[in-house]
């Protein structure tokens, strides 16, 4: 079981409150979580990753276990605490503005 916390705008869009819970097959990576997330909520396609390139949108960040994983490879294994559901995978709108 994977726990994902969405930013408020995407919770509104998907009409979920609280965390999203996903069942993810195989290695737990950014890519596998995002694939499962977009499969469950197709309206998220294009909002976290670019629609065509599947690259992380520039003002979206991925946090977990107190670390910024935004620049880690998409296929790198995520921390065990995320894979076991002990910690959530956070999708965050980056700080912007002043």
């Amino acid at each position: 079981m994977i726990r994902v916390k969405l930013p408020v705008h995407l919770r509104t869009l998907t009409r979920v409150s609280g965390e999203v819970v996903l069942e993810v097959e195989g290695p737990i990576t950014q890519r596998s979580i995002l694939d499962a997330l977009e499969e469950k909520y197709p309206t998220l396609r294009g909002t976290i990753r670019e629609r065509i390139t599947l690259q992380r949108r520039s003002l979206v960040r991925f946090f977990a276990c107190g670390q910024d994983l935004s620049h880690a490879p998409m296929d790198a294994p995520l921390p065990d605490a995320v894979a076991t559901g002990a910690e959530p995978f956070l999708i965050v709108g980056a700080m912007a503005g002043g």
Binding site: H9, G46, R51, A96
Partner: protein
């Protein structure tokens, strides 16, 4: 008695204002899509309760929303705007060639005849169409063959911001792009012709009469006279009587011929509205006076419309999609400001009143008359 619905897109959501045909008392709903930029929200002419909205942010990208009940509820539609084939490159700010990159949808123009068909104007400039109510979008890529490699972004980006349909010929469309110019198709979007002869841009282009590159801000047409087009260019208000074959200036006695929107009266094809702005570097009304200008002669002779509008210390802007008219017998005129006001006139512009104040900056205004 008819009702009127005004659809307002702002920097932080959409708002829907409704009134009866007296247009005195208004109910406001919103914000819809709170916190998101809504560049445009517009209803289908053949099914007014079918409304499309372009919702975007720099954080989470582009979404398209659709309502089938007049804006009470919304459903996200398809948001894959993929350029057809290899779009190549266009001129960039530094003079280099830059790859085409989709950024957002500026405008949604529902078909005049089919509620499931909608045109979308995109940045980087391209025209997309859906025939399935917004689920899938396909580029009309022939537009880019009209010297797309010479187009370049203006200050607001390289955006296709205006789409005008010929009510007598479904195969004829007009579009405008900043900073590329105006273009026309006569074959449903397969091929396109630059229609910029007569435009002169001495401060913006090294060849002031170039075939493409002009910063066209908006176009307007009266449905009874589809060969007559009006244009607000970066500087200059222009008119064409031959579907864009040639343009001539009609700025006449305007206090400034810089501005963004232009509109035509619903029942008087020679009555035109603009909102003069001081200059390209000072985007607010001349002398701090918010004045709509009306020509009843198809241009050149303009009168200031001031009753009910602030005539001192007003420094708002009126953006290109933020001026609209309704089709009631006494034509209503509406515009929104970057200060968050929407002003309405129920008497063709003779007098005005704010129908809402203190919204986020208004990006677009559209109006529907409901049976």
């Amino acid at each position: 008695m008819s009702n009127v619905r005004v659809l307002v897109g702002t920097r932080k959501g959409a708002f829907i204002l409704t009134s009866d045909e007296t247009r005195k008392e208004w109910e406001i709903s919103g914000p819809h899509f709170a916190g998101w930029e809504v560049y445009h929200i517009k209803g289908s002419p053949v099914d007014p309760n079918r409304i499309y909205a372009s919702q975007s942010t720099g954080w989470f990208g582009q979404l398209i929303q659709r309502s089938n009940d007049g804006g009470k509820s919304w459903e996200p539609m398809g948001n894959e705007f993929k350029y057809d084939g290899d779009p190549g490159t266009h001129q960039f700010y530094d003079g280099t060639q830059h790859p085409w990159e989709f950024k957002r949808v500026w405008l949604l123009e529902p078909s005049l005849t089919d509620p499931d068909t909608v045109y979308a104007g995109a940045e980087d400039a391209a025209l997309f169409r859906t025939n399935d109510g917004g689920q899938t979008w396909h580029e009309l890529a022939g537009l880019r063959a009209a010297k797309g490699h010479l187009w370049q972004p203006g200050a607001g980006g390289m955006c296709l911001h205006t789409i005008v349909q010929d009510p007598n010929d479904a195969n004829r469309l007009f579009v405008a792009i900043s900073a590329a110019g105006a273009f026309r198709t006569d074959d449903g979007g397969a091929t396109w012709l630059p229609i910029n002869r007569g435009l002169i841009s001495p401060y913006e282009l090294p060849d002031s009469a170039a075939e493409v590159g002009h910063c066209v801000h908006s176009l307007a047409m009266h449905p009874a006279r589809p060969d007559v087009l009006f244009m607000q260019k970066h500087w200059d208000v222009m008119r064409s009587d031959d579907a864009g074959g040639m343009w001539h200036e009609i700025s006449g006695n305007l206090p400034s011929d810089f501005g963004f929107p232009i509109a035509v009266h619903a029942h008087e094809p020679e009555t035109v509205y603009v909102v003069p702005i001081k200059s390209d570097s000072e985007h607010y009304p001349p002398d701090g006076k918010l004045r709509v200008y009306r020509s009843r002669t198809g241009g050149n002779e303009w009168e200031a419309l001031t009753e009910g509008l602030p005539q001192s210390d007003c420094y708002v802007n009126v953006l290109r999609s933020a001026l609209a008219v309704d089709s009631l017998d006494s034509c209503g005129v509406y515009f929104g400001t970057t200060g968050g006001q929407v002003y309405a006139s129920a008497d063709s512009g003779d007098s005005w009143m704010p129908i809402v104040r203190d919204l986020p900056a208004v990006v677009s205004v559209e109006v529907q008359v409901l049976p």
